[in-house]
Amino acid sequence: MTPEQIALVTASAERVTPRLAAVSADFYARLFAAHPEVRPMFPADNSGQEVKFAASIEAIVAAIPDFDAFAERTRTLGRLHATHHVAAAHYDAVAGHLLDALAAADPGWDEPTRAAWSVAYDLLAESMMLAARS
């Protein structure tokens, strides 16, 4: 990522932090609507997962500027996802819905912000997939 992209993602994350719980719920709603087949991978009551998801986003975004911390966090997360048989196709499916949920919650959202999030998500997903294989 470029420093500019990191700044855009960090600023956007700060704007949505107060609404992260809602972003998380919105994201899962979008994901399950588009991909009902992944619903069984989550608990019937998904509220706990929503809380964890919001916390993860916050922590990961905060770690981006420090690669070692970022790598450490994504490694744990990636291995955890691997135990749930999360495949590349799932990572692909998530991307658009996450960005849409963030866009809906971020009053300062624009094209450069979306592009920056997109790169950040790719970095995160690839890191997690690498960890899953190691």
Binding site: M1, T2, D122
Partner: protein, 891 residues
Amino acid sequence: MATATVLEWPLVGRTRELERVVASLAEPQVRVVLLAGEPGTGKSRLAGEVLAAAELDGYPIASVTATASAATVPLSALGALLPSTPDDPQQLLEVAVARAREVGDGARIVVHVDDIDLLDAVSCAVLARLWQDDLVVVVATQRTGTRTPDVVAAEQRAGGLLRVDLSELPRTSVATLLHHVLRGPVSAAAEHALWTASGGNPLFLRELVTGAVSTGRLAAVDGVWLLDGPLDVSGGLAGLLTERLGTLEGSARDLVDLLSLCQPLGADELAELVPFEVLERLEAEGVVTVVADRRRQQVSLAHPLYAQVVRDALPRLRARRLLLDQVARCEERGARRREDALRVAVWRLDATGTADVELLLRGARLARAAHDYAQVERLAAAALMLEPQTEASVLLGEAVYEQGRFAEAAEVLATATEQLTDLTSLDAARLAVIHGIVLFFGLGQPDAALDRLGRTADLLDDTQGEQRRVVDSQRALLLTQSGRSRDALELLPDRPPEAADIHAVYDRAQAWALHRRGRPDEARAVALRAWERQTGPDAVEGVLHPAGDLMVAALASLELGEPVRARELAAQGRDVAIVQGVGYQAAWLAWTVATLDLVMGYAEDAASAFRELVATAGRDGFGAIENLAALGLVECSALTGDVESARSWMARAESLPAPPAAFAQHATMARVWLAVAEGDTRAAAALATEHGRDLAQRGEWREAAVLLDEAVMFSDRVAAETLLGFVESLTGPVSQARAARARALLSGSAADLLAAAEAFAAIDFVHSAATLAARAAQVLRADGDPRAAAAAEARARAWADASPGLQVDGLGSVVGAALLTPREREIATLAARGRTSKEVAADLVLSVRTVDNHLANVYAKLGIGGRADLAEALGIAEDAVVPAPRPGRTA
């Protein structure tokens, strides 16, 4: 390289492909995974990750690296899979199968093959056998634009190939990769420059970053990677590599140069040459990789492109010295393993253009076993340059012939003949065999070929039984092809030669002779046994390609009333010959398939196959086959009533070299059908009868029967009498049906017609059956027995309806059409071609009312609604000059 910068390059942006390929390892229908892409897109890397995942999942694994250099010597790349292989090509597959079974222990071994396009044909054949037996699944890489090996292409046709195309990485993946490798953010300018320069090619990106970091031009300032000035990529990836590897000095330089010529080399071998620290540093810098295989550590350059770039820049004399030094070191250590011996041969060949004669011959024999004739040619030619050697000449002559360069092959063999010291040796006999084949089939000089063999035979005395059996087997084969099968059977030795490969010639001669002498059952049994001997688990390689056995088996099957089986056999032979790149045999078998299609009534399929053959055989210089294909097109055109095309194909055929005399009946048959299309059935019958009688006199029973039966269909009584003179003594239901047809013609009785109809129906020649039954119905009606006539007609209709698969226009009307009176047929034909009733009336000097009455009768008999359906019902093209003849042929 100023500093040793250790950067880790994770596999980014390829997880989807990786998951797909790993999943496919558990899919039994996937036998080969082909990772295709431009150099540097990460094919080998992906394959390596697949292998690592496979190993984790408990699969046995192995790696094979094909290189341009290893391709010179068959099997030298397969060391990982076949630590020891027999020199005897016949045992090769067995040993490979047994070994893979042992290593795999019930699981498929996952075999990584790098650059499969460079793998020699013998290795390809071994791998193909292993994957066909579900003993391995191959994960191969192939650079865009290189030739896909035939065995892989064949697997693709069979549905066992998973192809994964790797393209350049998208920009996001490049950004992610940079972030991972550099472990931090990269300035927008640097990222843009690296993305633009690399175009998303991971290897290019890697070279750019490695170079820029080692020179300090890409450096981290306050945690952000910045690029100092623009990147120079004017020389492209290759230029970049040359520049980077060009800075190596001393023993590192020697090592890289040597690897570019001889890789992979064992780490222990290299230890004598360079200090261990140098090897270690080169590995750390990503210049070389060290892979542990079962027995030792193998060192190669980190990317195939490195080897190419280094080799290209290497002065010729330096390359020669490095190779010869390597040969000396290897020989000093004793070159114990067979693999070593082969590698030494390759290096010597690369260095000096030559190698040990025995090694070269051994390689040539192996290559021949895999029908890799281009390779046989190289190795045998190299052996011949060292010393005149009959075996090498025979191999070379055969290889050049099999590649369709007939005159050149004849020259090689003529020279070898002059250089013979012992004219009665077994080698001399074998030379005569190949020489005979080349002269006869290649150059179309049957007399010269028989002379050549006869001269050798004349020199032999009674003590040289084996030599005689070898030579006479070949003479017998050529006699069958000259239309002298009686002489062939007489000359054929009492038992086959002991030389296993000439056994195939003996079998082929016997099969052809039996077929042509009207004994298809025995002919097919001999041919299929020969085929199995050459292709089964205990395969013995013949001097003839075994696909030719399937040609005889197919033609004999047709005589046995099994056209479907016949076509299957011919198609099988064709496909084998295509896969093995034996174009000449493939063309013969393709012709056989088309001919069978024509006989079975698939005129359109036959025509398109013949057209393709005319083009390809013409291109490849197989004039005789081009001729036969053109004759096939004469028949196809005649069948559809296209006289113009038929005539022009006939002119084309006449301008081409004649096929062997044994195929002369095809020219006559084409003339017969052209005459039919021109409306002159009398001339057609006369042509068929004349040639048929001539063939009968020479005892070529099968061909005689085909032509005479054709004439019988045109009601030629002389033909029927001649045919009955011999056909009943032949074997096979087709001959018996032909006899019945001839008897029916001579007696004209409804009972005989129905008997003949039944005989043809029994072998599914429903056209003939329906036509004969319809004629019986006519006779019965004329005899005043309408009830029996109706029954016969019902039978005829049932046979005609029983063949919905036949793609012949108007088939369903065979019965009705046979019931038309000559006048009705004449009027119907004119009407079908678009003439109005008034015009028809004028043409024939009849009243319009009479014409319309006749037409009404025709519609009723054909069971059609009116004029619009006439052409189709009669099976004629609207613009045809005469009614199309109906396929009623039995060959």
